[in-house]
Amino acid sequence: MRSGYFTALAVAVLLGSGMLVFAKPPAGSGSITGKVTYTGTPPKMKPIDMSKEPSCAKQHATPVMTQNVTTGPGNALQWVVVYISAGDEGSSAPSQGARYDQKGCEYLPHVLPMQVAQQLQIYNDDQTSHNIHPLSKTNPEWNKSQPPGSPPIDTKYDKAEFIPVKCNIHPWMHGYFAVLNTSHYAVSGEDGSFDIKGLPPGKYTVTAWQEQYPAQSQEVTISGSEAKTANFVFKVLPY
Amino acid sequence: MSESDITLKSGRADWLGGELPYAIPSKKLGMWLFIVSDSITFGAVLVCYAYLRLASPNWPTPFRLSSIVNGAIMTFVLLSSSVTMVAAVEAAKHGRIAASVRWLSATMLGGVVFDILHIREWLGLIHEGLRLYQNPWGSSLFGAAFFTLTGLHMTHVTVGVIYLGIVAIGFRRGKFTSDDVEISGLYWHFVDLVWMFVFPLVYLLSARMH
């Protein structure tokens, strides 16, 4: 099993480098950058009591907080997926897989963007069993456990969807798979900033998606190797 | 040693074997045992019905007078079919095969009429919005319990009609004896009896009161 996995990885690396040499895709050099912020009073994030899983609890000096509305300095809003929702269909999935980690009974990253049909590898880095239960609606739903020491789960999604992911064993573990139809996307960082690179010239709809509040869209047109700016403001509520 | 010599140590007269101890042939005993077991099954479902009904604050009572009248007609038909069944068994015992088959056919007709009236009733309720999982009147369990209980009984009536048909044909052809007619009668009376529990519990207790 393990050796099979390495073989697959080696083949993927070879193919990937081969594509770099022989079939470099016509990547654009336009970009869209910006910042995601909020107005209003955000809800208080709550501390998570991990005491039932001591091997995880001891990895965190201060309690881990819930992440459904993660804010930063300057009204920054983190974990917002900004992506091209129209104008960039049909690009094939990258050969490199997306990696999702379970570490210290947290999902790393909290929101994982990936492209339709892109390989997804899920690792358990903890000393405890996790079960990965993506609550997909348009894609088939599955629910698999991953005991410590077992091989990574290797899968992919065939339809675009924002999929909540939960671990039933540790009910506080909550994350999202953002399965997108585009290869151009970014997730806002602690300061709320994002940067979508490599866009060929064209007319795009840029959408910002947040797990709790309604998504927002803007039209952006890029000509040549322009660097455009698009900012998003989410209205948040205390409860 | 002759048979009369056989005695128990206790001196009781012995059991001569081969003879049927309770004057019940195996087939009839088998049917009685089936009835015992099946009445436990019905009993369990009826207890379930009562349990859920008592536990639900919003148990609906949707049956209008027309439903009750329909149910009363169904009851009458089923009871009448029990009478014709008695006649069929009586005729069979006296060797009047043709008469017995006629009475059996009348019994089957009663069963079929019962089924038709019952299905008509079901369709009416379904039209009003009654489903296995919901209804417009109250606890969603009403539909579940109603269809399960009456459906179980209807299945028994339907199976009974088929069973009587097989017995009637076999009896006419001489394949079955009058005992077989009597045994099928046991089943039919049992199904009839069960309805005497289902009808008051499900219909009369759920009549709309105004």
């Binding site: 069993s129 | 019940i24 099946d38």
Partner: protein, 592 residues
């Protein structure tokens, strides 16, 4: 004389021709009995292998079992068992063992083969129904085992399938969708098979006894099978509709066992109004009599063999034994609530249920004391079936005594759902019933297959098994006392981690005991072809099965109509040829 045409019709089926009709769709009770026996044997082998995997995982939770990933890639990625796969194995182990082994082999297997012979009949009352019950049961078995190979895997809700876990589908966990539905259907089918079988057993016992076979002269085994059949006829009739309702909750959108406002996997469930306790009541109304369905045939077989081993009838004879079995059977329908002391039902009813539960120990104690007192003054012949019958007494007493604790609601607060319970029911219902089956196998094998089983292998099998089961199940009582919760796939709690060495001991004991079972399997099949040819009556026993050739001819008595003159256990008789008098021997006994 009454009309006997009916019976004549039953019995005059001629020996069938062709493999299909002699071995597959045979109407002969002896073939059907063997079919049941081998079905149980298949089930017990699967169930035992599952328990090995479980035991290995409990002792070494992090270790991989090489090759297991080929059985289930999802359940055991890289050979490491996932928590849900452990629960799947647990569910299948429990279901297979309770339904397809404990309920099937001693009753439907041995009962089918020997009940008609022991009452001097040529076949069961309804041979066609008999064949039907076997094939229905077989379909149930295949349905259950098929869950191992579907993509969802087997259900994870245990053999008790408590709702709403078992009623909510995949939202509640893996295997609870299709796997659970197949499980319920399998049990429903099994109920039908058992009901038909029970009906047949009762009718046969009442109607087909030969001349002279009064009720008082029926062997202990016949009584046990008869009482068990009555229990089955009543108990399975309740489980069957419960299964139907559970299937409806899955596929019909009903909410019999599902209350409103449940949130699973972040989804509000579209159900309302049902009662989860209703399932528990229906299940245990069946489930407690089921415990006695599993053990009463074992009690009968043990008594039957013990008499032959000890060369004397049971102390108190049929009257006391049968009285006690009837009392147990009757009381078994009044005690189901003792499985539910802490389930949230009215605490007053817990007190009410505890009283008949404690009272049921009286007839059980009388039977046990009578067995032990029967050994007093006996002339014990320690052949393998005798060893297993005596072993049965020991494990039955041990397992039964822990029931005193669990019968009291106040002690159940602490002990409920711990390994104390696991130790208790494995000892009294699992091990004891299996000892009954082993005893029956060694005892009747010569009659069934015409050859003797190897005694040396049999004795090794007995000693390893007897010591082994104590090494496996006594420690379970101890760790249960320390609060070790059952149905855990791994022990991660602070107070459970120090108990893992005990689990390692249990696991090693289980492997050693398991190895002895492989020896038994080898002995069974080897002896079938290579064993010493068996005589008509190798154990100097007295009941009717020992008056006919080994193996018996198609119609059992070769056209002869046996006449019974004596009580079934005229053993240790002074002045008789040998020390016993056959039931059908016209020889008069000296009045004692």
């Amino acid at each position: 004389m009454h009309d006997t045409s009916d019976q004549a019709a039953v019995h005059h089926h001629a020996p069938p021709k062709g493999f299909l009709w002699t071995h597959v769709f045979s109407l002969d009770h002896k073939v059907i009995g063997k079919q049941y026996y081998f079905l149980s044997l298949a089930a017990v082998v699967i169930g035992m292998v599952l328990s090995w995997i479980m035991r290995f995982h409990l002792a070494w939770a992090a270790a991989a079992i090489p090759g297991l990933q080929h059985l289930s890639q999802v359940g055991a990625p890289g050979g490491i068992i996932t928590p849900e796969y452990y629960l799947s194995l647990l569910t299948l182990h429990g279901t297979l063992m309770v339904f397809f082994v404990l309920t099937t082999a001693p009753q439907a297997g041995f009962g089918n083969y020997f009940l008609p012979i022991q009452i001097g009949a040529e076949d069961m009352a309804f041979p066609r129904l008999n064949m039907l019950s076997f094939w229905v049961t077989f379909v149930g078995f295949v349905t259950l085992v098929s869950t191992l190979f579907i993509s969802d895997g087997p259900p994870i809700s245990g053999w008790t399938a408590y709702a709403p876990l078992s009623a909510l589908g995949n939202d509640a966990g893996p295997g609870l969708g299709r796997g659970q539905i197949l499980w319920v259907i399998s049990i429903g089918i099994f109920c039908i098979g058992s009901l038909l079988g029970a009906l047949n057993f009762i009718a046969t016992t009442l109607d087909l006894r030969c001349k002279g076979m009064t009720l008082a002269r029926m062997p202990y085994t016949v009584w046990a099978w008869f009482i068990t059949a009555v229990l089955g006829l009543l108990a399975f009739a309740v489980l069957l509709p419960a299964c139907v309702l559970l299937v409806l909750d899955h596929v019909g959108g009903t909410s019999f066992f599902i209350p409103g406002g449940l949130v699973l996997s972040d989804k509000l469930q579209p159900h309302s109004g049902g009662s989860t306790l209703l399932w528990q009541h229906m299940f245990w109304f069946f489930g407690h009599p089921e415990v006695y369905i599993a053990i009463i045939p074992g009690i009968g077989i043990t008594s039957h063999i013990l008499a032959s081993t000890a060369r004397k009838p049971l102390l108190g004879g049929s009257r006391v034994l049968v009285g006690c079995m009837v009392a147990i059977a009757f009381l078994s329908f009044t005690v189901w609530g003792h499985h539910m002391f802490i389930s949230g039902m009215n605490p007053f009813s817990s007190l009410l249920f505890s009283v008949p539960t404690l009272i049921i120990t009286i007839p059980a104690s009388i039977i046990s004391l009578n067995w032990i007192a029967t050994v007093f003054g006996a002339r014990l012949r320690f052949h393998t079936p005798g060893l297993f019958a005596i072993g049965f007494i020991s494990v039955f007493v041990t397992g039964g005594l822990s029931g005193f604790f669990l019968a009291q609601p106040s002690l159940d607060i602490y002990l409920h759902a711990t390994y104390f319970v696991v130790g208790h029911f494995h000892m009294v219902m699992g091990v004891a019933a299996i000892f009954g089956m082993f005893a029956g196998t060694y005892f009747w094998f010569p009659k069934m297959f015409g050859r003797m089983m190897n005694e040396t292998m049999g004795k090794i099998h007995f000693w390893v098994t007897f010591i082994g089961v104590y090494c496996i199940f006594m420690p379970m009582h101890y760790i249960g006392l320390a609060g070790n919760v059952r149905r855990y796939s791994a022990f991660v709690d602070d107070y459970l981690i120090p108990l893992i060495p005990v689990h390692k001991f249990i696991t090693i004991a289980a492997f050693v005991t398991g190895a002895a079972q492989l020896l038994f399997l080898f002995n069974l099949f080897w002896s079938m072809y290579r064993g010493k040819k068996a005589e008509e009556n190798p154990w100097d026993s007295t009941t009717l099965e020992w008056t006919i050739p080994s193996p018996p001819p198609f119609d059992n008595f070769g056209g002869r109509h046996p006449i019974v003159y004596h009580d079934p256990y005229e053993l240790g008789v002074e002045g008789a040829k040998g020390d016993y008098v056959m039931q059908d021997s016209p020889e008069k006994l000296a009045q004692s």
